[in-house]
């Protein structure tokens, strides 16, 4: 199996490379100290496995995962066990190695890689909520993954290259698009009512002409989204 290593620390890359060299099935074809260089490489060459550090300055491992169209198998290498649950949201992630990685644990990881089936190509999932599993969503803020419960989200507003996620207690500015987050949200709970707004349907206080009131926020309803909003209301 051809693999690459992405980690900003030389010592960490050396450890993974050494561990790979002890097993006959793995060939490290390249190592990268940043994810951008790895993306360029992957545009030219296919690999079977990526050993990926999550915690890198600038472009994090999670950012990197989101760029992969037809991802190979990915093994996360990090010192933060807290990221483990979030990382399993990504179907290409086969295993999660917490540093310092021991030879025994690494061997087990390679067994997992060998026994896992290959990742099916991504399907176009539309704007529905097929991705929305469980009750939470993780957002990436300054290299930290913060868990938000769907039921706590009030609304999401597009702000240029960012979205502003408003919850009952705070707000989070996330570098992503409204379209992207919409595909992660459960359709039964959320609805886009304007090109710049997605609302939590259960948080509506009232609807007046062309706007919706959610807590103290007055959200415009666009003409094109109004029929869907009206269809979903349980009108007397």
């Amino acid at each position: 199996m051809k693999c690459i290593i992405i980690d900003d620390e030389a010592s960490s890359r050396a450890i993974v490379k050494k561990l790979c060299s002890t097993l006959p099935d793995l060939e490290v074809v390249q190592e990268f100290e940043n994810a951008i260089e790895a993306i360029k490489f992957l545009n030219r060459q296919e690999v079977d496995v990526i050993f990926l550090d999550l915690h890198m300055p600038g472009f994090s491992g999670i950012d990197f995962l989101q760029t992969l169209k037809n991802p190979p198998k990915v093994v996360i290498t990090t010192s933060d066990p807290d990221f483990a649950i979030a990382s399993y949201e990504y179907e290409m992630i086969i295993d999660y190695l917490v540093k310092p990685i021991t030879p025994k644990r690494f061997e087990k990881c390679v067994q997992k890689i060998n026994s896992s089936s290959s990742i099916p190509p991504k399907q176009n999932k539309g704007t529905g909520s097929e991705n929305a599993l469980g009750e939470d969503l993780y957002i990436n803020i300054d290299r930290r993954l913060i868990k938000l419960k769907y039921k706590e989200i009030l609304l999401i507003e597009a702000k240029g290259d960012y979205i502003n996620v408003k919850t009952e207690t705070s707000e989070f500015l996330v570098h992503t698009t409204l379209k992207k987050i919409n595909s992660k949200l459960p359709a039964a709970l959320f609805l886009q009512i304007h090109r710049s707004y997605i609302i939590n349907f259960s948080k509506i206080i009232d609807i007046e002409d062309n706007s919706v009131l959610i807590e103290k926020n007055v959200i415009p309803i666009s003409r094109s989204n109004r029929p869907e909003l009206m269809r979903r209301l349980n009108l007397l």
């Binding site: 620390e9 030389a10 010592s11 050396a14 050494k18 561990l19 300055p57 010192s79 310092p100 300054d142």
Partner: protein, 105 residues
């Protein structure tokens, strides 16, 4: 204060003395750079940047078997993100210990 050790590096290296020498060299090269960056960020009140330095430095603690120091680093990294330098002196003692140890190997 804990004493750094080579247990993990020895386990990783096995009989491969070439790897061991090369790995120790990487540690000796990386550590001073990370330490200087950390001190610069702390001295200039860039606590968020300093927390990223602590994140990297704590890997060295892991590698050198400093389990208790690693726990302090985990807390310090989190606190720095919130602008709290409470554990600055404790952390400095740890990295000085590592620096001294790296001179002996």
């Amino acid at each position: 204060m804990e004493i750094p050790n080579m247990n993990y590096i020895d386990e990783l290296s096995g009989d491969d003395l070439g790897f061991k020498a090369n790995f120790v060299k990487i540690l000796k090269d990386e550590f001073p750079i990370e330490k200087l960056e950390y001190i610069d960020n702390i001295d200039n009140n860039r606590t968020d940047a300093a927390s990223q330095n602590v994140h990297k430095l704590k890997h060295k603690m892991n590698i050198l078997g400093l389990e208790e120091s690693y726990k302090i680093a985990v807390i310090f990294e989190e606190e720095l993100r919130l602008g709290n330098e409470r554990l600055k002196d404790d952390f400095m003692k740890i990295i000085n210990t590592i620096e001294n140890y790296l001179k002996t190997i």
